[in-house]
Amino acid sequence: MRRLVPPVLVALAVAGLWILALPAAPVDQPIAFNHARHAAVACAVCHRGAETAARAGIPQSNVCTRCHATAPDRSVSARAWSDVAAGRPIAWRQVTQVPEHVMFSHRRHTSLAQLACASCHGDAAARVTPFGAPATRIAMTTCLSCHTREGASEDCAACHR
């Protein structure tokens, strides 16, 4: 019996670590937004600031109603559309976040360094369902590999705040 204890403990530890390493469950978005159907529109049209500011915006009702006079199709429920049409805020859940100690500017990377949005956000133009989780995993090595290749600053304080 005693011989079984170490392997069982190891198995439990492995199982625990495996569970901890699993990605977080995807979040539900309030509207089943189809990026692929909007691929003809530039990202920055809806995600304002993606090319001109540090932070890229998450579109609100007024952005939708600029083009949509009526409910787009059955993918948006009548109730959800009535909120949009009334200009009420859409409760999008932000899925891609940089850590608190990182200073990231969209403008610096998109309009100045000409980095494609897909580099960090995945191929949104091919997505037919809304993002429930980050499309790509960004680690410091991801940033540094590009900074090294492109000759951008590798000073720690250039990105850490």
């Binding site: 608190e100 100690h101 304080a157 850490h160």
Partner: protein
């Protein structure tokens, strides 16, 4: 490569402490109470200290922040390279690397590296006033002035977006921008035409505790001469 420096004219400084407030506001420095100060846990990156200067009958109020030494004792002792001298001469502090050992706070002769004893605690009403360009440091790390380095990053980005080089007025720390007496001058010490370089060569110029050989880039101008 620029070598950023700060000149503080003690003849102009009125001791109003606007710089102290500006620094706290700019860098999301948490509040301290008289009790925390009495307990030796005052959290401030910039404060006015009483200094006995030669030839002065009374103590002078010396705005004291990280002296941004060219030979910083703090970086020599940091076991994780959380604090280091960056290529532009700014003593940077990388909070996720800091293990809170406080070697640097002990090594700093100016006592301007402060240990963060508490998690950031902000009243909800003040949350929107936090500077989004500066992090809220977690409990257990050492904090210090970085010459508002985030302002340099932002200034460079603005200049690049406008298709030009960074100009001297583009980047000044919050304390300098606020000083109502214009006692603080900031700029590139390596540029011989800069105002800060000219003032640093003034006969009134001195560095605090310069006999220690730390070679600070904060330069004071003596009063009353």
């Amino acid at each position: 490569m620029a070598r950023w420096g700060l000149v503080i004219d003690l003849d102009r400084c009125t001791g109003c402490q606007a710089c102290v407030v500006a620094c706290k506001h700019e860098n999301n420095v948490p509040f301290s109470t008289p009790e925390t100060a009495r307990g030796g846990r005052l959290m401030t990156w910039l404060q006015l200290v009483a200094a006995d200067l030669p030839g002065r009958p009374t103590a002078s109020a010396l705005p004291l922040m990280c002296q941004q030494c060219d030979r910083p004792p703090c970086t020599d002792v940091c076991p994780t390279s959380a604090t280091y001298l960056n290529p532009e001469g700014i003593v940077a502090q990388i909070y996720p690397r800091c293990i809170g050992c406080r070697y640097c706070t002990n090594a700093c002769p100016y006592a301007v590296k402060v240990f963060n004893w508490t998690a950031p605690d902000w009243p909800d009403a003040m949350a929107p006033m936090r500077n989004p360009d500066v992090s809220l440091r977690p409990k257990g790390v050492v904090e210090t002035c970085t010459f508002c380095h985030h302002r340099l990053i932002a200034a460079r980005e603005r200049a690049r977006a406008a298709g030009r080089e960074i100009a001297p007025d583009d980047y000044v720390p919050a304390c300098v921008a606020t000083c109502p007496a214009e006692a603080m001058v900031f700029g590139d010490l390596s540029d011989p035409h800069s105002e800060v370089a000219a003032l640093a060569g003034s006969p009134r110029a001195f560095r605090w505790m310069e006999e220690l050989g730390t070679q600070p880039k904060v330069i004071y101008l003596r009063e009353g001469e």
